[in-house]
């Protein structure tokens, strides 16, 4: 390609202008285009996504399994038996371990025996986001606390900051522990942190989170900012609790006991 001096200067000048103003112009353009793509999708939208775990509706072991397996399968969550290295997005544990700061000794036997569902609380004031040195974990405008497994450097600071033990590090090569791979969701690599992402990829398609879909109404999901949403109705009609709410993290997962 031949180019005379005049043409070269023109292109160079234009590039320089682009260099200064261009980045923000491209940025704005991308935002407009992105919004267009999103509006064409039948995405579920909210100002603040939230979830209620209606623990009374979990009756049989099968009720828990359905919910957990739905998530594990679609997100290629590695199934590692050793609890020290397990990767958990949604899981069960005892009442005592779910709410270590609440009264336990004289609690009803039924509560003591019952497994409780745990997952990322998608805190409104998330300490994990505060500490991440590379913004690999960040909060979306709709409140979902995201995890970018491709930017994560594996420093594990977020695991130190999370007061709920909701974050898992890939201590073992995760791909060796996936039985049936879902090709539509990325698998992970050794040495990165992962967690529940409130199925943002399903919300984009207009679908509720996989666990909610599999729960038969035991997991209620909706917009906390909308007074007519189901979550708001349940919250205003019932006594609910959150995990360690005294820490000021403002968890977005409530428990209906």
């Amino acid at each position: 390609m031949s180019m005379n001096r005049r043409e070269f200067l023109k292109i160079a000048g234009a590039s320089a202008i682009l260099g200064f103003g261009g980045i923000s112009a491209i940025d704005a353009l991308e935002k407009v285009e992105g919004a267009q793509v999103l509006s064409e999708l039948k995405a579920l939208k909210a100002k603040r996504w939230a979830m209620i775990v209606d623990i009374k509706k979990f009756k049989t072991e099968e009720d828990y399994k359905k919910v957990i397996n739905a998530c594990n399968h679609i997100h290629n969550v590695p199934q590692i038996a050793n609890p020290k290295h397990a990767v958990k997005w949604i899981w069960t544990d005892t009442y005592e371990r779910t709410f270590p700061d609440l009264e336990y000794e004289y609690a009803p036997e039924e509560i003591k025996q019952k497994p409780f569902i745990m997952l990322c609380n998608h805190c409104d004031n998330p300490p994990c986001v505060r500490v991440c040195p590379v913004k690999a974990t960040f909060k979306r405008e709709d409140g979902i606390v995201m995890q970018d497994m491709h930017r994560c450097i594996g420093c594990k600071f977020c695991m130190a900051a999370c007061p709920y033990g909701s974050r898992s590090y890939n201590f073992l090569p995760p791909r060796s522990y996936i039985k049936e791979e879902n090709k539509e969701f990325p698998t992970r690599t050794l040495g990165v942190v992962e967690k529940c992402i409130f199925c943002y990829e399903r919300l984009d398609k207009g679908l509720p989170p996989a666990c909610v879909e599999a729960s038969n109404g035991a997991l209620i999901f909706g917009d906390l900012a909308d007074p007519n949403s189901e979550v708001r109705k349940v919250l205003s009609a019932n006594y609910v609790i959150r995990r360690k709410s005294e820490l000021g993290t403002r968890p977005m997962v409530w428990y209906l006991i």
């Binding site: 020290k84 991440c132 420093c155 900051a161």
Partner: protein
């Protein structure tokens, strides 16, 4: 000046070869971890996600910051005895910062992505600030140490332009340890870390452990070279260690009072776990008591003037302080904050052999840098014979 590092007696080369071998072993252990996964090569777990290496970061940042205990009295208060060892302190800071930075680097699950920290600067993350303060401190200490030593070699006063950098390094030194304390002290749901005393306690223990190491290094330098760091300098360091150790022990007492007088369970549990065992777990009880006994032993040896002045008992005291605080900060502090897991239980942790070998590799890199820098400094001081106050700094052997 670097030429001094490539001339040495056989024992120098044996020591350098030994350190290089340890570095190689550490490198292999680190590669092994990244090949197999830290699940198979470390004692870490999803509850105890930080352990031995972050302990080394915490401890050695303290050692690095403590160089200020030599540099400050010398440059701001004209404490002449420290004139000879100011550069010894600065070079210790250089190698300790290197160990600290490597100790963080080796825990990264994705080391190739580590520059994301600078590519996506995140001022609300303390790790970002830790990187900034440590890199700055490393740079100013190399600059100040090297320039002042260069002037000494030419037997001229140090250039005037270096003075602002020296003052800056003095002001900057505490920041590296304060920022390291902030890694822990602002985490909700980690009651053992959540104390406003953290940064102050870190500084106190650092100013005991760092100068203790300098006492030992000064004694070694005197034994293995003709350069004499000076008895007065060693005695001044001993007094600094004594006061800092008292404050460190006092701060431990304060933690006990707040936890047990308030009777808030989560504040008491970690201390109970550490000192007497809790929920049937007592893995760290012998470890923390070893630290406590060494601290008390050192306290007596340092407070009694006769044993502080006697260099044999002072050496014992310095070693006791160093290991007591290494156990406390480098071994127990970080992991115990995690062992008390977020579910109200205990998840035991003990470093694995591979983890220890990786840490040994980082120490060896630090000590290799220290050896080379000290070799250069000592060779120059031996050649110059007199310190800047006209006192003989070379022993006649």
């Amino acid at each position: 000046m670097l030429e001094a590092a490539i001339k040495g007696r056989p024992r120098y080369w044996i020591w350098v070869s030994f350190l290089s071998a340890v570095i190689l072993v550490g490198l292999i252990a680190w590669l092994r971890e990244h090949h197999l996964g830290s699940g198979l090569t470390t004692g870490l777990s999803r509850d105890v996600s930080w352990g031995f290496h972050i302990g080394q970061l915490t401890f050695f940042v303290g050692v690095a910051a403590s160089a200020v205990m030599v540099v400050l009295p010398y440059y701001l208060h004209n404490h002449k005895a420290f004139g000879r060892i100011a550069v010894i302190g600065e070079f210790l800071a250089v190698s300790a910062v290197v160990i600290s930075m490597l100790s963080v680097f080796v825990i990264m699950g994705q080391p190739s992505r580590v520059w994301n920290v600078l590519l996506h600067p995140t001022p609300h993350s303390i790790i970002f600030w830790d990187l900034i303060v440590l890199m700055t401190y490393l740079f100013v200490n190399i600059l100040c140490g090297w320039t002042v030593l260069g002037a000494e070699r030419k037997e001229v006063p140090p250039p005037k332009w270096i003075k602002p950098f020296i003052i800056f390094a003095i002001c900057w030194a505490p920041s590296i340890h304060i920022v390291t304390a902030f890694l822990y002290a602002g985490l909700p749901g980690r009651p053992h870390f959540m104390t406003a005393l953290q940064a102050a306690h870190f500084l106190a223990s650092a100013f005991a452990a760092g100068p203790s190491l300098l006492i030992i290094l000064s004694m070694l330098i005197r034994r293995f070279s003709r350069f004499d760091p000076g008895t007065i300098a060693i005695q001044s360091l001993a007094k600094i260690v004594t006061y800092a150790l008292i404050i460190h022990i006092f701060f431990i007492g304060l933690e006990f009072f707040t936890a047990f007088y308030s009777q808030i369970p989560e504040d008491m549990h970690t201390l109970q776990y550490l000192y007497v065992g809790w929920q049937g777990h007592s893995e760290l009880v012998p470890v923390i008591w070893t630290s406590s006994i060494l601290a008390v032993l050192a306290l007596f040896l340092l407070i009694i003037p006769a044993t502080r002045r006697n260099e044999n008992t002072l050496a014992v005291a310095a070693l006791a302080v160093f290991f007591s605080i290494w156990i406390d900060k480098g071994f127990v502090f970080v992991s115990s904050g995690f062992i008390m897991n977020p579910f109200g239980g205990v998840t035991p942790y003990w470093p694995a052999l591979n983890e220890f070998l990786v840490a040994a590799g980082t120490w060896a890199i630090g000590f290799l840098i220290l050896t080379i820098l000290y070799k250069i400094a000592v060779s120059i001081k031996e050649e110059v014979v007199f310190d800047k106050y006209g006192e003989k700094q070379v022993q006649t052997k």
